[in-house]
């Protein structure tokens, strides 16, 4: 049974932000609930108010423009992103990694922004979005501010969000549009699972980017690599940047080992892919 809370369902952005301005500290913002309801059930969170974002029209928006890039609203679920034409043609890495996030049915509920705001080191959307230089927009009754996703996530389940704020949207610029890319995720079973460790790699005509999840308190974006950087060099930089731990899912040594394997595999994969921008 869940701990008792009141369910609040604002119908507009102003109603939502005014509510959070008053009751932010006692509220949990809710859309898919795939993290929140588990945490409430486990007694880890005890919100007085659970505030649903899904009835706010602006937060359901998912847009693409050839100059403005991709914009994903807070209440947009992962399947909508994965199935979006522009994502499939211009931001394939989001489609590839998105399909690795939980199951089809959970992706009907789970949102991309929820995955970011939860700020788990193993979030499937964070390392691809880091590679793409995604930017988050934070909104509150008193205004908005934007920052790179890289700055937004500050630690294990920690971000810069304030209780009265929501992440209203995430914007993916056109900088890495049409990049070739791949996502490798180690799981304990063949079916759906949290990532034990994961690596994202994208490649454009000029540069390569690599991000590693579940190997440090936050997903780690490595510095850019020039195109013909030898695999050993990328592995060396990655190993220096991560700080994996032993946990119930695996040992730190195994995480380090698999990061090297995935970098080698992804490098082979992206080098064979045509059409890198």
């Amino acid at each position: 049974m869940l701990h008792e809370f009141s369910y609040i369902e604002p119908g507009s952005l102003s109603e939502l932000l005014e509510f959070l301005a008053k009751y932010g500290p006692e509220s949990a913002v809710f859309s898919g609930g795939t993290d929140l309801l588990i945490s409430i059930r486990a007694g880890l969170e005890k919100p007085v108010y659970v505030v649903d974002l899904k009835k706010v029209p602006e937060l359901q928006e998912l847009n693409f423009g050839s100059k403005s890039g991709l914009s994903i609203g807070a209440a947009v679920n992962v399947n909508r992103v994965v199935e979006h034409e522009a994502v499939q043609s211009h931001y394939r890495i989001l489609e590839i990694a998105g399909r690795e996030l939980a199951t089809f049915q959970l992706r009907n509920r789970a949102t991309v922004i929820g995955n970011i705001v939860t700020a788990s080191p193993c979030g499937d959307m964070s390392s691809p979005l880091l590679c793409l230089d995604a930017e988050v927009e934070l909104l509150s009754a008193s205004g908005s501010r934007s920052m790179l996703l890289k700055e937004f996530i500050t630690g294990v389940k920690k971000t810069q969000i304030k209780p009265e704020e929501i992440v209203s949207k995430i914007t993916v610029p056109t900088t890495f549009m049409d990049a070739a890319g791949g996502y490798e995720k180690l799981k304990r079973i063949k079916g759906h699972d949290l990532g034990v460790v994961a690596v994202t790699m994208i490649k454009t005509k000029k540069t390569m980017r690599v991000a590693v999840s579940s190997a440090a308190p936050t997903p780690v974006l490595l510095p850019d690599f020039v195109l013909d950087t030898p695999v050993a060099e990328i592995q060396k930089v990655a190993q220096a940047a991560i700080s994996p731990i032993d946990d119930v899912r695996c040992t730190k040594e195994y995480r380090r080992f698999m990061v090297d394997i995935y970098i080698r595999r992804l490098l082979e994969e992206v080098q064979h892919e045509r059409g890198a921008a």
Partner: protein
């Protein structure tokens, strides 16, 4: 408490519901629709699968209050004791049921899968039922049961 009007298997229900109650507990405890099972309660096992507004979701991860105005399908709306759906009949013929606990969720997932992908490959079936755990059958008979219906023309899935 919140007033909820929800259509389940074609029948309209109007109830006052506790705001912290999951849709799963609402179906089972308030409406007595116990075909939908609670396994893990955490979105892992799929025993609570239902179809809400045409989309399959784990009902343990939905609040009853959110279902206001929704159209829901549960296993009680799929076939009857006298007339099984094509999938239920196929599960029966292929011995895809042992203890039966995962079956309602498995049927709902497969029903939704075949609506989206009428002729799935074996791999698509495996991917499709990824979110439904079965601890008895080893999945083989379940996959065969779905394949059998998917191969049939005009399946009533």
């Amino acid at each position: 408490m919140k007033s909820v009007k929800v259509t389940i298997n074609g029948r309209l229900y109007e109830r006052e519901v506790a705001e912290h109650k999951t849709l799963l507990r609402f179906l089972r405890d308030d409406l007595g629709l116990t075909g939908t099972k609670e396994g893990c309660g955490a979105g892992e096992c799929g025993a609570c699968m239902i179809i809400m507004n045409g989309v399959s979701v784990n009902s343990c991860m939905v609040l009853a209050a959110e279902a206001n105005g929704a159209e829901i399908e549960t296993v009680e709306g799929v076939g009857t004791n006298d007339e099984l759906s094509a999938l239920q009949d196929s599960f029966h013929r292929h011995h895809a049921v042992q203890c039966g606990f995962c079956t309602p969720g498995m049927i709902m997932t497969a029903t939704d899968l075949l609506r989206r992908t009428p002729h799935p490959s074996r791999e698509e079936i495996k991917d499709g039922i990824e979110g439904n755990f079965c601890r008895c059958t080893g999945y083989e008979q379940i996959i065969e049961a779905i394949e059998d219906v998917a191969g049939t023309e005009d399946s009533h899935a």
